[in-house]
């Protein structure tokens, strides 16, 4: 088949800038073939190369005694003692989900699960952080329904419990929803597998599902802004098959037991190209592939299509040749393809053959090593203007407004569509802060949370970045878990705009400061840029996923408030209303500065909660919506009323950081006061849990009435 001639239009259609094409010419000293151009495009797009973000990602703290493997592999790995490790990562599937919500979200879940089990870990928990446009926007309802069904359709069938996540709505996501999927798995520290190939002449084996034309050029698509031609991009979205993924996971884990695996890499973005280059590059080897041996689902596929296909549920492995028969038997047992498609070679060369014809012959290491890297110009986000006064409101009316909004209403409609209990180790399902699972067969538990408050990040990227980490820290501490490490999923607009790049830089600096202070190194992550439609960017959304450990013998804090319990706030309240939920939902205002995050105070209050878990019956962190929303949620969960003494708007709805709400009995409250005095932590009694009403000062409503609103508002807005 005749390959198209290389023209400036073709180069541009591959997302390559003229100077990037010049670099290609310099590296190979000739004009690339069509297949080679596709390979460069796949490796050098923003999604795969991190060319705009690398400079700044390098500044993030990624190390610590608990870290077994930091960023750069398929997922991060953290030691949880006794030879056990938790393997986790969060990754976006934003662009595909906007184009085709069910499959986009489903394959996002599939991709992140594959990243985890590729390393030898059985996935044990999933979360997802979702951002949609306003509910009145004509696309939102379809997107919400499709994304949630897609996540459920894939994760439920695969058999991993969803234990946490977030859902938010804001007009800035009208043209660009965000789907950030997190997965964590468990491995033995001596049973971890990496992607670096080793040994010359070792067989390169293709595993899993067959290759089709789906997703060709997907990563390049995901690295561009959207415009009104978006519907034409549907063929670039992949189609998922969770049943195949489940078998691929079982077969891969079984294969690893045979000792046949030298190295292994899943095929995600840019499929065969990216996985083969990664394995070769990390192992300082070349790779030769014979494409006629690739299992194909469609007829007459070209080299170009096979190299760029993003068909799902596929892996690439370098095999110990003497164990080929054992390895093949495992894949035959699970009725999956197993095909030797190439070999490792000594030269630094990526050689692609198809029916005896050379389709690409490139130096391998420059494909990743010499990918462009940009120091994009950026401008500091200007300081927020002084905020107008906020009038006092009836506090129960304020609460009613919050819980009527899909942003703050109960999310049962979402997580009841996910299997939250499969594997029978879920200790705390979604909806109540961090989710908790037991490490199977042990008394250890892991807690998971995902957090970010995009309004804060827009107003003040540095404080907003800090806040996302601090909120994750708090959610873990609130259940009694020691925060271990973090994965970041950085969603921003077009980095070629200095103000967007400024948001990115500011947020990275804030995240870096917080993970350093709180000892939660970044061990994995993903960057999603160009989240813009017709020039309008999303809110900067650096989603933080974090994992904490509840050691054997330690009790998690998962109780509920009881009638007669005292309500206590740990940490200082000054009543910061800038960028608050109350301003946005009641006054339709998004002004003021983000709350300042005092990292020393965060550390002190979080450690105080963990150290005094025996005195605490129920605990939640205070975040957006402030004390009023947290107290209501704790009351609603417990089915008991709450009376807070104050009716002050700023006190009840302020979003000061480093705070927790606690419920406990009187004796425990006294003991906590003593302990807080010794620890130098601020503590105050704010009311008590009692009766069947929610009362703030003199303002009051039946708990049942508010609970009905809270439980039905989300479905009412999107179903």
């Amino acid at each position: 088949m005749q390959e198209p001639a290389i023209t400036p239009d073709l180069i541009e259609a591959h997302g390559l800038k003229p100077d990037e094409y010049e670099l290609i010419l310099e590296i190979i000293g000739r004009e690339p073939t069509f297949t080679e151009l596709g390979i460069f495009s796949a490796m050098w797009n923003e999604h795969c190369s991190y060319k705009s973000s690398k400079k700044w990602l390098r500044t993030l703290p990624t190390d610590g005694p608990q870290v077994i493997c930091g960023p750069g592999e398929n997922a991060g790995i953290v030691d949880i003692g006794d030879g056990d490790a938790v393997v986790f990562k969060m990754e976006s599937h934003n662009h595909p989900s906007y184009i085709e919500p069910y499959q986009g979200a489903a394959t996002g879940v599939g991709g992140i699960l594959r990243d985890v089990f590729t390393m030898g870990a059985r996935p044990v928990a999933a979360m997802n952080s979702l951002s949609f446009g306003e509910t009145s926007h004509p696309k939102t309802r379809r997107l919400v329904n499709g994304v949630v069904e897609g996540i459920g359709g894939y994760g439920n069938c695969f058999g991993v419990p969803t234990v946490g996540g977030e859902v938010r709505f804001h007009p800035a996501y009208n043209g660009n929803c965000l789907v950030n999927a997190f997965a964590a798995g468990l491995a033995k520290t001596d049973g971890i597998f990496y992607s670096a190939a080793s040994g010359v002449g070792m067989p390169v084996v293709y595993l899993g599902a067959k290759t089709g034309r789906d997703g060709v050029g997907g990563a390049t698509m995901a690295s561009a802004e959207f415009d009104d031609t978006i519907e034409e991009k549907r063929p670039t979205v992949q189609v998922g098959d969770p049943f195949t993924e489940k078998r691929l996971m079982e077969a891969t884990l079984e294969l690893m037991q045979t000792g046949a695996v030298i190295s292994i890499q899943d095929m995600g973005a840019a499929g065969l190209t990216c996985s083969a280059v990664e394995m070769g590059d990390k192992g300082k080897l070349g790779v030769k592939l014979n494409l006629e041996d690739v299992p194909q689902r469609e007829e007459n596929m070209t080299a170009y299509e096979m190299m760029l296909s993003e068909s799902q549920e596929r892996m690439l492995m370098v095999l110990k040749p003497e164990l080929e028969a054992e390895a093949r038997a495992v894949f035959e047992k699970w009725d999956l393809d197993f095909a030797i498609v190439g070999e490792t070679i000594a030269e630094d060369r990526f050689l692609i053959m198809h029916n005896g014809e050379v389709k690409a012959d490139l130096p391998l290491s420059p494909l990743s090593g010499r990918a462009p890297e940009y120091d994009r110009p950026w401008v500091e986000t200007p300081a927020a203007a002084a905020m107008d006064d906020v009038p006092q409101i009836d506090p129960v009316d304020g609460l009613r407004a919050l819980i009527s909004s899909p942003n703050y209403a109960g999310k049962q409609w979402v997580y009841e569509q996910y299997d939250t209990m499969v594997m029978a180790d879920t200790q705390r399902a979604p909806g109540l802060g961090a989710g908790i699972i037991r490490v199977h067969g042990t008394d250890k538990k892991l807690a998971f949370t995902s957090d970010v408050t995009p309004r804060y990040v827009r107003a003040n990227p540095f404080e907003g970045g800090k806040q996302a980490v601090a909120e994750a820290w708090r959610n873990l501490c609130a259940v009694g878990a020691k925060p271990l490490a973090t994965t970041d999923n950085l969603n921003f607009g077009n980095p070629e705009k200095p103000e967007i790049m400024g948001q990115f830089v500011g947020a990275i600096k804030g995240i870096g400061a917080a993970v350093a202070a709180l000892d939660m190194p970044i061990v994995s992550g993903n960057v999603s840029l160009y989240n813009e439609t017709d020039g309008s960017a999303i809110l900067p959304t650096p989603t933080i996923g974090a994992v904490g450990l509840i050691a054997a013998g330690e009790e998690p804090i998962t109780g509920t408030a009881r009638d007669g319990h005292v309500a206590l706030v740990i940490g200082e309240t000054t009543g910061h209303l800038g960028q608050s939920a109350l301003l946005a939902e009641v006054f339709n205002r998004e002004d003021g500065d983000a709350p300042h995050v005092d990292l020393d105070a965060e550390k002190a209050t979080g450690e105080f909660i963990r150290a005094n878990r025996d005195l605490i019956k129920a605990c939640t962190d205070l975040s957006d919506g402030g004390l009023a929303l947290a107290a209501f949620e704790m009351a609603e969960t417990a089915g008991v009323g709450v009376h807070l003494d104050s009716d002050d708007t700023a006190f009840l709805f302020g979003e000061d950081q480093a705070r927790y709400l606690i419920a406990c009995n009187f004796d425990q409250a006294e003991a906590l006061m003593v302990a807080a005095g010794k620890a130098g932590v601020h503590i105050e009694t704010v009311g008590r849990f009692t009766g069947d009403t929610v009362r703030f000062g003199a303002s009051e409503a039946p708990l049942s009435e508010l609970a009905d609103i809270f439980r039905s508002a989300f479905a009412g807005a999107v179903a």
Binding site: E149, G159, D335, M421, Q427, R438
Partner: protein, 222 residues
Amino acid sequence: MRAAVIVFPGSNCDRDMAVAFERAGFAVDMVWHKDVSLPEGVDIVGVPGGFSFGDYLRCGAIAANSPICRAVVDHAERGGYALGVCNGFQILTETGLLPGALRRNAGLKYICKTVRLVTATTDTAFTAAYDKGQEIDIPIAHHDGNYFVDDAKLAQLQDEDRIAFTYAQNPNGSVADIAGVVSKNRRVLGMMPHPERAADAGHGGTDGIAMFDALASAFVSA
């Protein structure tokens, strides 16, 4: 006491069910779907939840035609015990060991939550430890749990006291609120709710334990 738990490609509650049997004192064999016979001396076969064969064609339909299911049917026809949960219930209806069929939930969405069941009969080895009318809280997690039988068959199930559990609040549109039924000889139970997910203190509910313990005592005394 021996239990066998069948593993189909796509089963994902197989381990959970094995853990619940083991907790009650059973020795458990995991049996691959391509096997043609059950291990010697198996007292009860567990057919677990999940998405056997990806739910392709129809939930449970392909699994019901797998080699091991012929052995499961033989075992049941010889008077052996079997417990099918969720996809396992769907498979047992597809084999004909249990009457009826499971359709798409009335609300058309997958539902995962803990629901309240009413124990409708205690005259089975599975439900002997509950009181008749006792309410128990057991999780459901399914997309196709809407149980259907025609009126004549329903009347027969009622006459023969073969409805094991009903839903206190019907979540999926099942005929007569049915959550689980037993075979004519009362030795095969199929149910959509997952008793193995309410089988230790960490689950937040323990109402499923009594089922596995009752089975264990049935085989000890047998």
